[in-house]
């Protein structure tokens, strides 16, 4: 019964183990529990948005890609059983779908439009200023000096659930251990850059 499913899901709302919680949600989703699927979509879509955007897609194409990816997940729910496998599958599929859209040449955003250099400059008194702190500014500048691969990796991993860092790095085609359990060269380089030009 639906009510029982919903209850089972709610009980584990704040579990000590995220993996067990996600596995419960995935089981419930396979049994047609829409609340469970809704929680999974809400939790992981921000990560997939960054995957699509960092592949150079515009907002409209990114939305199309996310819709396709989640529909494809529904078709594959029976085959995915752990939280980490789910995250890795979603990241891989989003990247693949994003490249498919790019290859088709639909409404593509030129890569340089996404450039870090074009971040709006600080305007005194500007209320629309997004990056407010000097610290964020320094971080932004340092990220901009990383290789494109490192920028992509860190941007995406930052949105991944912590236990899934290594799986996400692998899904992005970075060597295993790029991020988690070891730091990896991208974060090491970022820290070096930040140490070089302190505030």
């Amino acid at each position: 019964m639906t009510e029982d499913n919903r209850k089972a899901v709610t009980i584990q709302q704040t579990p000590p183990d995220r993996g067990a919680h996600m596995a419960t949600l995935m089981r419930a989703a396979r049994q047609r529990n829409e609340d469970a699927l809704g929680q999974i979509v809400t939790e992981l879509s921000p990560l997939l948005w960054q995957v699509a955007r960092s592949a150079g897609l515009g907002p409209g194409d990114s939305e199309d890609v996310l819709q396709t990816v989640w529909l494809r997940l529904v078709a594959h729910l029976e085959e995915i059983h752990s939280a980490t496998a789910l995250t890795a599958w979603l990241v891989t599929t989003t990247k693949r779908e994003a490249w498919r859209v790019r290859a088709a040449g639909r409404r593509q955003v030129p890569a340089d439009q996404e450039s870090f250099a074009e971040l709006p400059d600080e305007g005194p008194g500007s209320e629309e200023q997004v990056i407010v702190h000097d610290q964020q500014r320094a971080l932004w500048a340092a990220i901009g000096r990383l290789s494109a691969r490192c920028q992509e990796l860190l941007r995406i991993v930052a949105f991944a659930p912590r236990p899934d860092y290594a799986a996400v790095a692998a899904a992005l085609g970075m060597p295993v251990g790029s991020i988690g359990p070891t730091r990896g060269r991208c974060l090491a380089k970022l820290r070096a850059l930040l140490a070089e030009s302190p505030l």
């Binding site: 699927l37 921000p46 494809r72 529904v74 078709a75 639909r106 070096a192 070089e196």
Partner: protein
């Protein structure tokens, strides 16, 4: 590069520490501020995931074309093509005089199938003819999704619905 004495150069082979986790948190905040996912996107995704059937084949948006139909004034017509492993679905969307929308579609390869159009309010059903043609003549504007219902299931091969992403009429 000269490692500063105050903060020795971190090695790539060390385990992640609190500084790394803090940096990743900062990076997330940065991109949440500069390139946030639209807040209502999960809701729109869930609209297209509310399916009667989980045995589905996903039809991807393959092509979208805006056409101005000159003969009928400035009236707009959109043609959208969706591709799945087994089926190509092409639809043309036009506005009716009364403000409702008309959707004409073709299935390739041509075949008779039950086709549903799911909207926020309800689900409408039609059947394509032998040439694969179908039409929804008066649809409300707004979000909609096409579901081509399964063929007769064969032995050991259950029929699957072909499902498109949600589109806006």
């Amino acid at each position: 590069m000269t490692p500063s004495e105050a903060s020795p150069m971190p090695s790539a082979d060390e385990p992640l520490d609190d500084v790394d986790f803090g940096l990743l948190d900062d990076i997330r905040e940065l991109f949440q501020a500069t390139d946030p996912m639209p807040a209502d996107l999960p809701e729109r995704i869930l609209f297209s995931l509310a399916l009667r059937d989980l045995e589905i084949e996903v039809a991807r948006l393959a092509e979208e074309e805006q056409l101005t139909v000159a003969a009928r004034g400035a009236e707009q017509s959109r043609t959208i093509t969706f591709d799945s492993d087994s089926l190509t679905i092409m639809i043309r969307i036009e506005a009716n005089q009364d403000g409702t929308m008309r959707v004409d579609g073709w299935l390739a390869p041509p075949q008779r199938r039950e086709i549903e159009m799911k909207t926020a309010a309800d689900t409408l059903g039609v059947t394509s003819d032998e040439q694969g043609r179908f039409a929804f003549t008066r649809m409300p504007r707004g979000r909609a999704q096409l579901v081509v219902r399964p063929n007769e299931p064969g032995p050991g091969r259950p029929g699957r619905s072909v499902v498109t992403p949600a589109l806006v009429l």
